[in-house]
């Protein structure tokens, strides 16, 4: 029997259309699995990235490739060539995250798997030079694992087939060195077999006919070698390594040695995410609520200690009771930011403990983090104790409220830049969804709010704004006779275009059954409707979409606001609603008739100054 131990065997998986496969998978997620694998997807898809100042294709799927497109092609050219092309923004960060998941999944084959995306781009001829997206692949060190799957070739075939069923086109190389496996996974003479196996010791022969690009070279030395006519790996065999290194640098010589197994190349395997858990076994089953709470009290400090040592904080935690009848009862708590304070976590759980059902008794309690995020060690505050603790305390309050009411229910008011009073503020949830791993966590990222200043010189706003403007009846003495109006207001707006009713400030108005005689008035402040809001129903996905239902298609006219004071010294904010606007877009941009004459202006009360 051979010494299996000594022989290293490596699988390199290449996912040539990973980015677009992922898109297609997402799109078909509604449909019933399994996804059709071998059938080529009909729609040409591509991802687009901004590369060297211009939009270029980062990845293309089979249909797009057959249509003549390739990564690196400028988007404009691609559109000219293939008008039916669908494009999406490239997101290599998410791609790599998804690839990491696949690498973890591949643990079913080998405990040593790694993401391979570090290869320099432009390694394969189907691209347009160095201007394309990253290359996606996996490494698996399967030394000694093959027999579990009926042989190493079968293992690789199974891997490729399963990836295929999941919607990822993949092909693999299997060899004694990572370099050789990488090369044969991607660079083939003619064969289209999903798995290419290099027999042990056969690397030299297998690589000889392949392009030197199969050595994962940097672009510059590879080009030089090609120019010298040394285009295949076999061409390099007779060269003195020193002559080669003098001209092409150390890279090619090193990669060649690694591929041929004359120099070692390690694979750094991916590590699983930290899932921390602590458990407590009871000698006798427990069932009382106090006992369960006591168990939690013992588990929480232990878990938090481990979280601290790992430098992470929990975002979601499960507290699970294993009952003697073999069933479980579980509650979950979430936090707004990474947390590892036992007291705080305790408070979050305490409100949920009632939901736990111990059944006929609980024999084991388990506390585990379901989602965790990095969390810097906290300085035990010396001196200025207040600030940090206040922040933390507010955070805890928010967490407790959010756990009780639901995460979207806890909001804060933020200013919004809008001239329309009722749109000048907005509510934002304070608890965000779990952040992507590694992203900085900061509750005060409300950049919009921070950037919104007041607006210089604008007339003051009332302290209290009615939830809805309320119509009021007005009394006007004589139209057109400005001198009869209350002092303070300039003549109302009138212009060459009929943009509203004649300018008059009322002498009195009736609101909620009470008559107010206007003594003084200031105004008008004219505010136009926001014409663009009628467009967003079909416009871009903008978060500034009006709340509630779809945008109203017809835009009301502008409003003239007046601050008025009545005979009792109370001050109100009234506005007059003018007719439909001249400047309404989309068709109404070049208006025809002015608003129908005779339509009386409508007056509304919108706010109170006192």
């Amino acid at each position: 029997m051979e010494r299996m131990q000594a022989r290293r065997r490596v699988v390199s998986v290449w996912l040539p259309e990973f980015a677009t496969d992922r898109l297609a998978r997402r799109r078909e997620a509604g449909g019933p699995p399994p996804f059709p694998l071998a059938t080529p997807r009909a729609t040409p898809l591509a991802t687009v990235a901004q590369i060297r100042g211009s939009h270029r294709l980062a990845a293309v799927n089979g249909a797009a490739r057959r249509g003549g497109l390739a990564p690196g092609l400028p988007l404009a050219d691609a559109r000219a060539l293939l008008p039916a092309l669908e494009t999406f923004h490239a997101n290599s960060e998410n791609d790599f995250k998804a690839l990491e998941n696949i690498a973890l999944w591949a643990w079913r084959y080998s405990p040593s798997t790694a993401v391979d995306g570090t290869a320099p781009p432009a390694n394969h001829g189907a691209s347009f030079g160095p201007d394309c997206g990253p290359d996606y692949g996996l490494w698996l060190d399967i030394s000694g694992c093959g027999h579990l799957f009926g042989g190493e070739a079968q293992l690789a075939a199974d891997l490729i087939s399963r990836l295929g069923q999941a919607g990822y086109r993949a092909q693999a190389g299997l060899a004694g060195t990572p370099g050789a496996a990488w090369a044969v996974a991607r660079f083939r003479a003619d064969d289209d077999t999903p798995v290419r196996v290099v027999p042990p010791g056969g690397e030299r022969d297998a690589l000889a006919p392949l392009s030197i690009r199969a050595l994962r070279l940097e672009d510059a030395p590879a080009r030089l070698l090609e120019r010298l006519g040394l285009a295949r790996i076999g061409d390099l065999y007779p060269l003195a390594r020193s002559a080669l290194a003098q001209r092409a640098g150390l890279g090619p010589a090193m990669r060649l040695d690694q591929a041929l197994g004359e120099r070692d190349e390690p694979i750094s395997p991916i590590a699983p995410p930290p899932v921390l858990q602590v458990r407590l076994k009871f000698p006798d089953p427990i069932g009382l609520a106090d006992d369960i709470e006591a168990a939690l009290d013992r588990l929480l400090p232990a878990l938090c200690g481990r979280l601290e040592r790992a430098g992470i904080g929990a975002r979601r935690l499960d507290f699970t009771l294993y009952r003697i009848d073999g069933t479980v009862s579980r509650v979950t708590a979430g936090t707004g930011r990474p947390e590892r304070d036992p007291d705080h976590l305790k408070r979050l759980f305490r409100e949920k403990l009632d939901a736990l059902d111990p059944g006929f008794g609980v024999e084991t309690a388990l506390l585990a983090t379901r989602t965790a995020e990095p969390m810097a060690a906290e300085q035990q505050s010396a001196g200025d104790a207040g600030a940090g603790q206040d922040t933390a305390a507010l955070g805890w309050l928010i967490d407790r409220l959010a756990n009780r009411l639901g995460p979207r229910a806890v909001t804060a008011i933020a200013p919004r830049e809008s001239h329309l009073p009722e749109r000048a503020e907005t509510r934002r949830p304070l608890v965000r969804d779990a952040a992507p791993a590694g992203a900085p966590v900061n509750r005060n990222t409300d950049a919009d709010a921070a950037a919104a200043p007041g607006i210089a010189g604008r007339a003051p706003r009332p302290l209290y704004l009615l939830p809805m403007p309320e119509p009021v009846d007005t009394l006007t003495l004589t139209t057109g006779d400005r001198t009869n109006g209350p002092p303070g207001a300039t003549g109302g707006p009138r212009s060459n275009l009929d943009r509203g009713a004649p300018p008059v400030t009322p002498m009195a108005f009736r609101w909620r059954g009470r008559q107010h005689t206007i003594r003084r008035a200031d105004g008008p402040e004219r505010i136009e409707p926001e014409w663009w809001r009628s467009l967003v129903s079909q416009g871009p996905g903008n978060e500034d979409r009006p709340e509630g239902s779809a945008a109203t298609p017809d835009i009301p006219g502008n409003r003239d606001y007046y601050a008025v004071e009545d005979d009792r010294g109370e001050r109100f904010w009234l506005y007059r609603q003018n007719g439909p606007d001249h400047a309404a877009p989309a068709g109404a941009l070049r208006p025809g008739a002015p608003p129908a004459p005779g339509r009386a202006p409508k007056w509304f009360l919108h706010g109170l100054f006192s």
């Binding site: 404009a76 001829g125 199969a214």
Partner: protein, 1094 residues
């Protein structure tokens, strides 16, 4: 805008008169939302007393406003808004602005109205001062400048100070101080824009005005002529700050009150302050300065003691005539000269002629080739002065096209100079007149359709993809066209989407809006007095240049002198060829001594053998030449003029050819038109003819005819073309002409607006056509050599020029380290003819000074690459490029061994200390003599590498190498077209050298392909184009099946089926199929880049 043009408005001023004094036009660049013309017209229609335009720190919109006001008899006040900066006002709130709305500075703004010419001059000088202090596009002026001695402390100016939005003591103090320090009349602006609190603010302002002694004046802070422009104003605000409307927030205005209002409205708004309204009229009436006063300020060149410029001009003319006509001046010419001199005298244009004459004399003295073009060639005086080169004896001149007493405007003299040496002429002018009196003309860069769609789309937050699709959808549109729903759908857009429609509407409004100022390529203006008292001067991006704010049309409209110092690549080429002929053949030739009317030259042109020749080398010209068969100089004039959008749009080309071939009778629509159209067989081909038709047949006055031409050439978006069109068509039909003929004539004038050639201009160009043809015919090697050294220019890539030279028997030799110079050179050839040696300039990426050094240190030649590095201190990257260009052949090193040797050298040349070391020490021991046996390159690889390094190959044509593969696909050589009969099928393949889709061709695409045997011209109709879109647009090696179209010697292939042969092309440098691609191989397809023309 037209609403007001046609409406019977002009309300009777029942209310007190009002003049609008604060108006920002779109020449405040992305700020105002209306054109100056629109503002002026609206102001007139509203019955305002007058309108001023006060653009931010500039006067570039004034001329347009002035012209429009003149046309509509409205009072126009030239003025400017000055944004003050400086330490005193740091941190002051911006004046009447939301945040981020100023381009620069954040201080106080002042509107400045000069009362007279002198005050205007000082205002403009103040702006110049601010601009020359600051980077391009900015202007830095402090309050101290306003009260400084240079500005005469504001004497003669009326200033309106714009208050801060929140009044404070700082502002009050400023106002009081300014009042004390200046001699100007000072007013305080008040506007009621319905921002809330207007009343109390107004009272505070009135208070302040009384305290400071600066009377209150009503303004409306106008930024649009009608509130309908609100959406566009919002979009402009978004463009300015690079955000979408959804993110814009307070960068948008709360309302749209900043539009022009009627005097009645203003009176009502300011009912409590009627004085403030009345003062607007006082101010307007106090400003009596008009831009018309800027005319006729010619610089005067020194003339001999005791004589006037006119006498000096007459003397020079007489002297020049003697030189031009040694055997006596023909009577016709003498009569013309006398006529012209009299007119020049009447209009006092003599100084101008002397100025141009001086510039030309300077250029000639320096040996810089130059020639006048354009309408100046209508002048016999210009000819004898040496400004133009077309003999008036050979042409009918229309001197009135050049100068007319009625127009009373100075003529336009454009002179072409060798492009390499034009800068010398420009600097001479600067030196002679000084920067105070000479500057480059500005150019206003305006929005065009695609840019307008892009910016409007971004402002509405459209996705990048959608914007691109929209841009493509509008790509082919001219101004009248509307995008149809069908077109939108075709580009994957939803025609029902209001967003898409709105973007298109906005883009249509935005089109023609100025974006920024730039400099004209060659226009220079000079004046007698200080130029910076006419318009502000600012620094150009290019060092050593200053630019005036007004563009060519503005100067035209004001009748200000300018000379176009243009650069013409062909003149450089001709000059170079003359030099080569002198040094190699020992023959001295000049423009004047090229033998005229050489029949062999016309033979050559009639065969469409015109690659490299000036003007007539384009695809369209080449298919015209064999039809026109030029036999004399005047035929060339027609040839140059006929292949232009003017005659093509006017549908004049075919009638002319038919008549010339005798297939159609030459008749004239009327006797009066016989005189006009006689020499072009009854078909109008030249601009003058179109204008004369307007005069003779449509009853225009000459000035009106010229106005028509200008109306279409310049302010075409806002002019009064429709009225002129009606007048033209009605005039002609009333005189009994066919409406159809009238329409064609009008269309032709329309075409001339953009690309019109007057006869005189065509004649100037025809002369260069003739000279370059003569060079090509008799000195093909020198001509090709000069062409290659003058690149980039012309229609053809070097590969085609070299191929053409070789076909004319020129031996072309490769670039070589031991034999080439930077430029291409002539060296002794096999017979008496010289051979053409390619220069290092053809190798991509080499630097000129490196290669000069290489040639300098060459001595008896370099023995190896190391010697080049050591002796000429050439770095490794440059040596690599030389090796890749296969330039070591004379050393016995082919490309790969040379590259191996170079790659083994150190990165940098050795330090001087080691220069004495023998060459061998640069290379390593193991490299000398025993380089590895590198694989030989296949012919295909050699050619591909040649293209990579040089964009051409002397070794073989790529198609020749691929021939077996093309034959296997049943493609024939291009040469078969020469033999095949009309309407027969042919199937050819070739490299695409040019793709052209002229606007006049209704979507037809013209493609030129070539293989080792011949060049073929393809015509692709739109339906075929759509069917084979990818192959048509993207292919480098194109296979075509189609029908042969022969018309005389002109052969086209009417494409029926197109195939992208990229897979075949890719095999060029990949002989066997070996495992794996390489990027280098993928690039092969891109090496053969076609030239794209539109």
């Amino acid at each position: 805008m037209s609403d007001y043009l046609n409406s019977p408005l002009r309300r009777p001023p029942a209310s007190p008169p009002y003049a609008e004094l604060q108006v920002m036009s779109n020449f405040s660049f992305l700020e105002g939302a209306s054109h100056p013309e629109e503002l002026v017209l609206q102001s007139a229609a509203l019955g305002q007393h007058a309108i001023a335009i006060t653009d931010r720190n500039g006067v570039s919109g004034l001329v347009r406003g002035h012209t429009a006001a003149k046309e509509h008899r409205h009072r126009f006040i030239p003025a400017a808004r000055i944004d003050l900066t400086g330490p005193d006002f740091q941190g002051a709130e911006d004046n009447d602005k939301g945040r981020s709305e100023t381009h620069s500075g954040s201080g106080i703004s002042i509107l400045c109205y000069p009362r007279d010419r002198a005050a205007y001059g000082r205002l403009v000088r103040l702006l110049t001062l601010g601009k020359r202090r600051s980077p391009k596009g900015q202007c830095a002026l402090s309050p101290g400048d306003l009260t400084g001695p240079d500005f005469q402390r504001g004497a003669g100016q009326i200033l309106i100070v714009l208050p801060f939005i929140q009044l404070n003591n700082k502002f009050n103090q400023f106002l009081i101080n300014l009042k004390k320090a200046t001699k100007a009349e000072i007013y305080l602006a008040a506007s009621i824009l319905h921002r809330g609190g207007d009343r109390s603010r107004l009272e505070k302002l009135a208070d302040l005005a009384a305290r400071a002694g600066t009377p209150l004046v009503a303004v409306n802070d106008v930024e649009m002529h009608t509130p309908r422009r609100r959406v566009l104003a919002d979009v402009l605000a978004c463009i300015r700050s690079g955000c979408s409307v959804f993110e814009a927030g307070f960068r948008l205005k709360a309302n749209a009150e900043r539009h022009l209002k009627s005097p009645a409205d203003m009176a009502e708004l300011f009912a409590d302050f009627p004085d403030a309204v009345a003062r607007t009229v006082e101010i307007a009436d106090a400003c009596r300065f008009s831009l018309d006063e800027l005319r006729y300020e010619y610089p005067v060149d020194p003339v001999p003691e005791g004589s006037t410029p006119q006498e000096e001009l007459e003397r020079l003319t007489k002297q020049g005539a003697k030189e031009r006509y040694p055997s006596g001046v023909p009577a016709k010419v003498q009569a013309q000269i006398d006529h012209e001199l009299a007119l020049i005298g009447d209009l006092s244009f003599a100084p101008y002629f002397l100025t141009v004459h001086d510039i030309v004399r300077f250029a000639r003295g320096r040996g810089i080739l130059c020639q006048g073009r354009g309408s100046a060639a209508n002048s016999a005086v210009c000819y004898v002065l040496g400004i133009t080169a077309v003999d008036p004896a050979r042409l009918d001149l229309l001197f009135e096209r050049f100068i007319s007493a009625e127009r009373g405007e100075p003529p336009d003299i454009d002179v072409d100079f060798e492009n390499g040496r034009r800068e010398e002429v420009i600097q001479y002018i600067y030196e002679k007149y000084g920067r105070d009196r000479a500057a480059m003309t500005g150019t206003v860069i305006t929005y065009r359709t695609r840019g307008a769609v892009r910016d409007a789309g971004k402002a509405l937050g459209l996705a990048e993809d959608t914007i691109r699709s929209l841009q493509v959808a509008v790509w082919r549109l001219t101004r009248e066209d509307e995008v149809t729903d069908e077109q939108l759908r075709e580009h994957g857009l939803d025609p029902g989407d209001p967003m898409v429609r709105l973007v298109l509407t906005l883009a249509a409004d935005l089109r023609g809006f100025p974006r920024h100022l730039s400099q004209h390529s060659g226009g220079m203006m000079m004046t007698r007095g200080r130029l910076d008292e006419i318009a502000p001067i600012h620094n150009a991006a290019m060092a050593g240049r200053t630019v005036i704010e007004w563009d060519k049309n503005d100067l035209d409209a004001l009748g200000i002198l300018k000379v176009d110092i243009l650069a013409l690549g062909m003149l450089s080429c001709v000059q170079r060829a003359f030099g080569l002929i002198k040094s190699f053949h020992g023959r001295e030739v000049t423009l004047a001594t090229v033998p005229p009317e050489d029949p062999t030259v016309y033979d050559m042109l009639s065969d469409a053998d015109s690659i490299g020749v000036f003007q007539v080398e384009s695809r369209a010209q080449m298919s015209m030449l064999p039809r026109l068969k030029p036999r004399n100089f005047y035929d060339l004039v027609i040839e140059v003029a006929i292949v232009r959008p003017g005659p093509i749009q006017g549908d004049m080309v075919h009638p002319y050819l038919h008549r010339r071939d005798g297939k159609e009778a030459v008749d004239f629509p009327s006797g009066e038109l016989r005189d006009v159209l006689g020499k072009t067989l009854g078909v109008p081909l030249f601009q003058e003819q179109a204008m004369k038709i307007a005069i003779v047949a449509a009853g225009f006055t000459p000035a009106e005819a010229d106005q028509l031409r200008r109306a279409m050439a310049t302010f075409r978006n806002h002019g009064t073309i429709h009225a002129l069109r009606e007048k033209f068509l009605n005039g002609m039909t009333a005189r009994g002409y066919e409406p159809d003929f009238a329409l064609r004539c009008f269309k032709q004038i329309e075409g001339f607006a953009d690309y019109g050639f007057p006869e005189s201009h065509a004649a100037s160009f025809a002369l260069i056509v003739y000279v370059s043809s003569w060079l090509k015919r008799h000195y093909p090697a020198a001509f090709a050599c000069a062409l290659l050294n003058s690149q980039p220019m012309g229609f053809y890539a070097p590969a085609q020029i070299i191929r053409d030279a070789a076909e004319h028997g020129v031996v072309v030799r490769p670039v070589d380290v031991n034999l080439s110079d930077w430029d291409c050179t002539l060296e002794p050839g096999p017979a008496s003819e010289p051979a053409l040696r390619l220069g290092f300039r053809k190798v991509k990426g080499l630097r000129e000074d490196d290669m000069h050094r290489l040639a300098l240190h060459r001595g008896n030649g370099y023995a190896d690459a190391a010697a080049v590095m050591r002796r000429a201190l050439i770095g490794k990257p440059a040596l690599e490029k030389l090796a890749r260009a296969d330039a070591f052949q004379s050393l016995g090193l082919s490309r790969r061994p040379a590259l191996w040797a170079v790659a083994g050298l150190p990165d940098r040349p050795p330090a001087p200390l080691f220069l004495a070391a023998p060459d061998a020490e640069l290379g390593r021991e193991d490299d000398r003599g025993n380089a590895p046996r590198l694989p030989l390159m296949s012919p295909g690889q050699e050619v591909a590498e040649d293209y990579r390094a040089l964009r051409l190959s002397l070794k073989a044509h790529p198609a020749g190498i691929l021939r077996p593969k093309l034959t296997a696909k049943r493609y024939e050589p291009c040469a078969v077209l020469l033999e095949r009969a009309h309407d027969r099928m042919a199937r050819i393949a070739g490299l695409v050298t040019a793709r052209q889709r002229p606007g006049t061709a209704k979507g037809v695409m013209f493609i030129t392909v070539e293989d080792e045997t011949a060049t073929a011209n393809l015509i692709v109709w739109p339906h075929v184009f759509e069917k084979f879109r990818r192959a048509t647009l993207g292919s480098r090696l194109l296979g075509v099946t189609g029908w042969v179209q022969r018309e005389g010697k002109v052969i086209h292939l009417l494409a029926d089926h197109l195939e992208d042969l990229a897979p075949v092309l890719l095999t060029l440098d990949r002989p066997g199929g070996f495992a794996g691609d390489s990027p280098a191989a993928a690039e092969t397809g891109r090496l053969f880049k076609a030239r794209e023309f539109q």
